[in-house]
């Protein structure tokens, strides 16, 4: 029988649906009797869903076109390669 720490270690693979059948069975057997890990799994899964569907940090559309133009203008004008010295 796997422990709660074993379950947490495998949680990322379980969320990514990246576990072999034998391991999945062990994880599900653990979930069946461990309410703590059941809550942890359910809430982490929902966290992922919320994050993925949130549209957070999306590219701000109003500035997209000017940025594209600025980049292409600099490329067409043969600008110098930005290096660490030019970085802030």
């Amino acid at each position: 029988m796997i422990s709660c720490q074993d379950f947490i270690t495998e949680l990322g693979n379980l969320l990514d649906d990246d576990v072999a059948i034998g391991i999945r069975e062990q994880l599900q057997a653990h979930l069946a009797h461990c309410n703590t890990c059941q809550v942890l799994y359910d809430s982490t899964r929902k966290t992922l869903r919320i994050v993925t569907e949130s549209g957070s940090f999306d590219y701000p559309e109003p500035i997209a076109e000017p940025l594209v133009s600025r980049i292409m203008d600099r490329i067409r004008s043969g600008c110098e390669l930005p290096d660490s010295a030019s970085s802030k």
Partner: protein, 395 residues
């Protein structure tokens, strides 16, 4: 114990493992149906690993650990992590070497040795004379370089034997590579295991045609690449820089660098992965002070979730889309930068594990460890917003 029955574990050649390890690893006991093959392997292991050679025994064990980690092989990661501990290396350091040896406080020479071994294991077609020269620059002679190459090859052989025969670990793995390869993988997993680390289905890279046109002198075609990937680059940069204005500034630098270095892009990774790697380097260059993606912290410590409280079926329904967007941005930004960037690449940008690992220059286990930590920390911060009640919060 394995897919093939053991027939005889008293083969004379196996005694060498009892001498060095105090036991016979299961991966050899699983091969006793062919004593001649066991003999051949033990002779090679004796000469290459156990006998005094050009590299130290600990350096050879480092190579075994890193190549096994690259192969996502729990069995050998556990076995050689334990072996290093027998040789006097602290458990925390041996585990850190498996996750990401660059954070394990190794000497420059040992880091160079493992850079070479990792590249040989994950990008064998990318090895050139320059890589060997880097080893020479780090102080390694030709005998040592030969041993390093053979150790990486031996590790691949042993990893394949263990996976192919379904041998269970001798020690319980503690890391995030565990258990997976001890069972026959499902078809999708088998495909993943058969691919080298950097193979991201490069053959179907949707940008390959546009990249070819730009390389051929069609500068205007680069605009298409800016439009396709601006969002991804922006997200990578804001995850590092935490400031929209600075992210926009860095985004321009990133695309300029990509354009000017495009002749060096050889298509070994997807263009988008290569671009994200440039974005991350650009962002990291702009970071000042102690904030750094590679800052060593408590990554090797187990993270213990504290707020265990049930959530409703669709807890996000209580918030508008705009509220959710702001909430996620606020809480993601509170994560330490190394976890934040890994999580954003996987869960917001939805890069595959391989793509995100390549973009960040991490092994797959290293990337997985950071993403999991980020997800657990983010979940913890979301509990007050989405749990059914606050009464059951455990502190």
């Amino acid at each position: 114990m394995s897919f093939l029955p053991e027939t005889n574990d008293d083969l004379p050649s196996l005694a060498i493992f009892k001498r060095h390890f105090g036991f016979v690893p299961k991966v050899f006991r699983a091969q006793t149906k062919r004593p001649d093959l066991v003999d051949s392997q033990t002779k090679l292991i004796d000469v290459l690993l156990f006998q005094k050679g050009a590299l130290t025994r600990i350096q050879k064990e480092f190579i075994l650990l890193v190549v096994s980690g690259t192969n996502n092989n729990s069995y050998f990661a556990a076995l050689h992590s334990k072996t290093l501990q027998f040789l006097g290396v602290k458990p925390q350091q041996s585990e850190q070497i498996t996750i990401d040896y660059r954070l394990a406080n190794l000497s420059e020479a040992d880091s160079a040795l493992l850079d070479f071994s990792l590249k040989l294991a994950s990008q064998p077609n990318g090895i050139t004379a320059t890589d060997v020269d880097l080893l020479r620059d780090a102080g390694f002679n030709d005998e040592q370089i030969l041993e390093a190459v053979l150790m990486a090859g031996l590790t691949h052989l042993l990893n394949s034997v263990q996976i192919g025969l379904g041998v269970e670990p001798d020690f319980k793995p503690r890391l995030t590579l565990p258990l997976k390869e001890v069972n026959l993988p499902a078809d999708s997993e088998r495909q993943m295991l058969e691919r080298p680390l950097t193979d991201e289905s490069v053959s179907d890279d949707p940008d390959v045609e546009v990249v070819r046109r730009v390389k051929g002198g069609d500068t205007d075609a680069f605009e298409e690449l800016v439009r396709r990937h601006g969002r991804r680059v922006y997200r990578s940069l804001i995850g590092i820089l935490e400031n929209a204005e600075e992210a926009e500034d860095a985004l321009q630098d990133c695309f300029l660098k990509a354009f000017q270095h495009l002749p060096e892009f050889e298509g070994r990774a997807r263009f988008s992965t290569w671009l994200v790697r440039i974005a991350i380097n650009t962002g990291v260059q702009r970071l000042r002070g102690p904030k750094n993606l590679d800052t060593l912290d408590d990554e090797s410590e187990d993270f213990k979730p504290r707020r265990i409280q049930a959530w409703g079926d669709n807890p996000e329904d209580s918030y508008s889309r705009e509220e959710l967007r702001k909430l996620v941005e606020k809480e993601v930004m509170k994560l330490p930068v190394k976890y934040r960037v890994a999580l954003m690449l996987r869960d917001l940008e939805e890069l595959s594990t391989e793509e995100a690992a390549n973009a960040l220059g991490l092994t797959i286990p290293g990337l997985k460890a950071r993403v999991l930590r980020g997800r657990l920390m983010l979940r913890e911060s979301m509990v007050p917003y989405f749990a059914k009640t606050s009464a059951g919060v455990r502190e």
